[in-house]
């Protein structure tokens, strides 16, 4: 059985969704929890169409029923988990009746779903950014883990909590330590031993043991002058960060910006220096997918002009600081540095991933890789820790002036800001402009026709965009993507962040619709 929550898989992870659909055709059960009736819902046994941002309330209510009706996995909970009493205390404050208004779902439907969840094992829970892109993103994630531990679905094949990673190599960028708090392989920068180990390996002294800044803090630093030099590699921050007017202000305040990219983007406009990079298929390397599988990327063509591989550019800058880095190819970087320094990747070498990749942890060259974690109830911290959490509403909720909720995401035919897919023959023909998806009810109330251009306004900005009237969204909701600069949802989105992860609340802000013509 599958529980898919906050994930429009059929568009954002199309091939993953085909395997799920195959399983459903073979008889597997599917529960979808999502504010939208997206394509996967056609295949679902149950669809809980909750209100945007009410996930925790719903999950707590489901757990209430599991505990109240004694349906949870007592053996797993008592032998593999700690913190059950605290969880129980918390979720018992969430009887289904209490969350009906918050979630917009019948109490009986919640009860039935909880019973259904408890009736089939194993259950795999998949989530994507519908869970994380909230001010309560981290708590959302913990809730999903609480549910799966309570159901005893951890550490088994086809069980667990499976976050589908958005970008092809977002897993890899984390693994490689492109994060302010960890070195490659998740070794903490605050740990003096880890710091010493990397100092020795890199033949340097005096590295910082202080956790660095996250992107939103960097952006603030550009304005207050505490960040003077800003190096942006391959990201189109001007269009992907929430509240584009604010971002434009931040980037234009910067003293010195270096952009390293393959195209001019809305972000490179703010740069002082632009460095031309080799693109995908113009150099060798590896990507790490959502399943932690390290696979090869290979060269098929040469970069245009004098564009160079990214790793070469970084190496050249290091050289100008007097550091001579020995590795002179992606393979040398991986085989001689990454896999030597990060124990989880120790067994992964280029010669082992010529064909299918290997899934880390893979600790030595005989290790076959690991397809699923927490085997037999083994968690990194010994026992699975329940972390009960309370529901909190999104930072901005609809009111009289802005009565609708705007939620955002990706569509099938494009990728992010279209710097790539917008330049591929055929894809623009399939989707040539942004639309604002609105419900039949709101459309008829506001007298809006399918295809009509409307104005969408939030406290931060406004866009004119074509309305798409669709049964996919429910009353009170507007849905958009951020693929096009013109009607980009991020002119409207709210730069409110989860206090711990600093992930922005792309999934909820308040807007109103104005009709332009009569």
């Amino acid at each position: 059985m599958f529980l898919v929550i906050g994930s429009n898989m059929a568009e954002a992870h199309p091939v993953a969704s085909t395997f799920l659909k195959n399983a459903v055709l073979k008889g597997a059960k599917l529960i979808v929890i999502d504010p939208r009736k997206h394509r996967l819902v056609d295949f679902a046994d149950v669809h809980l169409q909750l209100k945007v941002g009410s996930d925790i309330a719903l999950l707590n209510a489901l757990m209430y029923v599991l505990i109240d009706e004694n349906l949870y996995d007592k053996e797993f909970v008592s032998s593999c988990c700690v913190g059950f009493e605290e969880l129980k205390e918390k979720v018992l404050a969430y009887p289904p009746e209490r969350v009906v208004d918050i979630c917009g779902i019948d109490a009986e439907k919640i009860r039935d779903t909880a019973r259904f969840l408890a009736s089939v094992k194993p259950l795999m829970l998949c989530y994507t950014l519908g869970i994380t892109e909230h001010t309560c993103g981290k708590n959302n994630v913990m809730s999903t883990a609480n549910l799966q531990m309570l159901l005893g679905n951890m550490g088994v094949e086809c069980g667990g909590v499976n976050p589908l990673r958005g970008q092809n190599n977002v897993q890899g960028a984390c693994d490689m330590g492109a994060l302010p708090n960890v070195y490659p392989g998740y070794q903490a920068v605050t740990n003096p031993d880890a710091c010493a180990k990397f100092e020795t390996a890199w033949n340097v002294e005096g590295m910082s043991k202080k956790v660095g800044l996250m992107i939103p803090q960097m952006m603030d630093g550009l304005v207050d002058g505490s960040v003077r030099g800003f190096y942006i590699f391959g990201e189109n921050l001007a269009n992907t960060e929430p509240d584009m007017n604010k971002v434009a202000h931040e980037l234009s305040s910067a003293e010195f910006i270096v952009c390293q990219d393959i195209f001019q983007t809305e972000t490179t406009r703010f740069a002082h220096v632009v460095l031309p990079a080799a693109a995908w298929s113009e150099n060798d390397g590896t990507f790490t997918n959502s399943e932690r599988r390290v696979s090869r990327v290979r060269t098929a063509s040469t970069p245009p002009g004098i564009a160079k591989p990214n790793w070469w550019i970084f190496k050249e800058i290091a050289r100008r600081f007097g550091h001579d880095w020995p590795s002179a190819s992606a393979q040398e970087i991986w085989d001689n540095e990454v896999s030597v320094l990060a124990p989880n990747f120790a067994g992964i070498k280029y010669h082992r991933v010529e064909k299918d990749g290997l899934q880390w942890p893979c600790t030595d060259e005989q290790h076959p890789g690991t397809c699923y974690l927490h085997h037999g109830g083994q968690f990194t911290c010994g026992l699975g820790q329940f972390r009960p959490v309370d529901w909190t509403p999104p930072a901005e909720v609809p009111d009289e002036d802005y009565p609708l909720v705007l939620s955002t995401g990706r569509r099938l035919y494009h990728y992010h800001t279209r710097t790539q897919t917008g330049r591929c023959g055929g894809l623009n023909d399939l989707l040539g402009e942004e639309t604002a998806d609105i419900s039949l009810q709101d459309a008829s109330r506001l007298n809006i026709e399918n295809g009509e251009i409307i104005r969408l306004i939030s406290r931060r900005g406004e866009v004119n965009v074509r309305a798409k009237v669709t049964p996919e969204v429910s009353e009170g909701m507007v849905w958009m993507a951020f693929h096009f600069n013109d009607a980009n949802a991020n002119w409207l989105t709210n730069a409110a962040f989860d206090p711990d992860t600093l992930t922005a609340e792309y999934k909820a802000c308040a807007v109103r619709i104005e009709k332009l013509s009569n």
């Binding site: 092809n168 190096y231 390397g285 959502s290 564009a307 550019i313």
Partner: protein
């Protein structure tokens, strides 16, 4: 393990209950040609190419649908089997516009062959699948030339109005692989068999062009099509199999990490297909993975370093640009310390690039101000 066996061409082969004759043969490296058989989908036995002779059976049976039974004695290339395959191939070649120089009535002169090609395809070339066609391969193997029956005229015109996919019904042999790919593998349910008898056609929705149907342009049907009936619009006529190198790589878009074959000709990717049996995607792709490759050849690519002077970007050499960056960063570090620098890495680029960037910030600049959009 089961000790029961069947005999194929005189070889004793063990089998598991439920295995088909074709599966047992494949496991034992005995070749049985197939055409409509699509791995991962329910075998249908439609094309009858995989027929075999089984002792005691009156008819030839399709090996893809017939379960192995203990004691069966099977012949895969008996005279009867070969005759049947030849007949099947003759009929297929006669069923449409198979102008690859295999499927012509002998005796036709080359000029009229070319004229006919022009007329049928509006292109001066033979079938776009020439050299990459299962029917052609089998016709050659069994030395069948399509001269036995008169060619049928095909009543459905080519469908070229869609982005990315050209549907040519004149070359469709109705094997049903695309229907299975769409319904059983990708489960998009966009196409199916329509009409009846001699009018049978693969239809999308109520027989509309793909672009107006539930089709999501994953292209799985093209990959499944054994002939030239479904072809990538961008790749059409740009390549022949002997001109390309196949390079295995990983899709640059989402976190599924599908494995792709890049078909490379003269340093350019001309077409992309899924790596059958490769993990994690088992040959499947979506629209972005299959068709989203040509951005790298865009004229808009950055080709040289640029330095902004008086509000305008000016082209620069690597030394100029990198010296400027290094000097400016050194100056900032000297004045305000390393934490006055910050960097954002790229979640789309290779691991080795992210590794180098964080190493630059940590080991060289001495700050941990390095992040990427892990959260979006």
């Amino acid at each position: 393990m089961n000790d029961e066996t069947i005999t194929i061409n005189g070889n004793e082969c063990r089998f598991e209950k439920g295995q088909t004759i074709l599966e047992v043969a494949e496991e034992n490296n005995i070749y049985i040609p197939t055409l409509c058989y699509l791995k991962g989908a329910t075998p249908t036995g439609t094309c009858r190419i995989c027929v075999v002779e089984i002792e005691g059976y009156r008819r030839l049976e399709t090996s893809c649908t017939t379960p192995a039974e203990a004691g069966m004695v099977v012949l895969t290339e008996s005279p009867k089997v070969v005759a049947s395959r030849k007949e099947t191939l003759e009929l297929m070649l006669a069923s449409g516009n198979h102008n690859c120089a295999i499927g012509f009535n002998r005796g036709e002169d080359w000029t009229s062959v070319q004229l006919k090609t022009q007329e049928a395809d509006d292109a001066g070339e033979l079938c776009p699948a020439w050299g990459d066609c299962r029917l052609q391969e089998l016709a050659y193997h069994y030395q069948v030339d399509g001269s036995k029956y008169a060619k049928r005229d095909v009543k459905y015109p080519m469908e070229t109005v869609n982005p990315l996919i050209v549907r040519d019904f004149s070359r469709c042999i109705l094997c049903g692989r695309c229907v299975q790919a769409c319904n059983e593998i990708q489960v998009n349910r966009a196409i199916n068999f329509g009409y009846r008898g001699a009018d049978t056609k693969i239809v999308a929705g109520a027989d509309v062009p793909l672009k107006d149907s539930a089709c999501v342009f994953c292209g799985e049907c093209i990959q499944a099509c054994p002939v030239g009936a479904l072809v990538e619009k961008k790749a059409r006529y740009t390549w022949r199999p002997w001109e390309v190198n196949k390079i295995r790589t990983t899709c640059p878009y989402c976190g599924v990490g599908c494995q792709l074959w890049l078909h490379e000709k003269n340093g350019r990717i001309v077409k992309v297909t899924g790596v059958e049996d490769g993990a994690p995607n088992k040959g499947r792709l979506c629209v972005k993975g299959r068709f989203g490759y040509d951005f790298i050849y865009s004229e808009d690519r950055l080709k040289t370093p640029l330095i902004k002077k008086n509000g305008q970007f000016q082209e620069a050499s690597w030394d100029e640009a990198l010296d400027l960056v290094a000097n400016k960063f050194k100056e900032i570090i000297k004045q305000d310390g390393p934490d006055a620098l910050a960097g954002v890495s790229c979640a789309r680029s290779i691991n080795e690039d992210s590794y180098q960037m964080q190493k630059l910030f940590r080991a060289v600049f001495k700050t941990n101000n390095i992040d990427h959009c892990a959260r979006t």
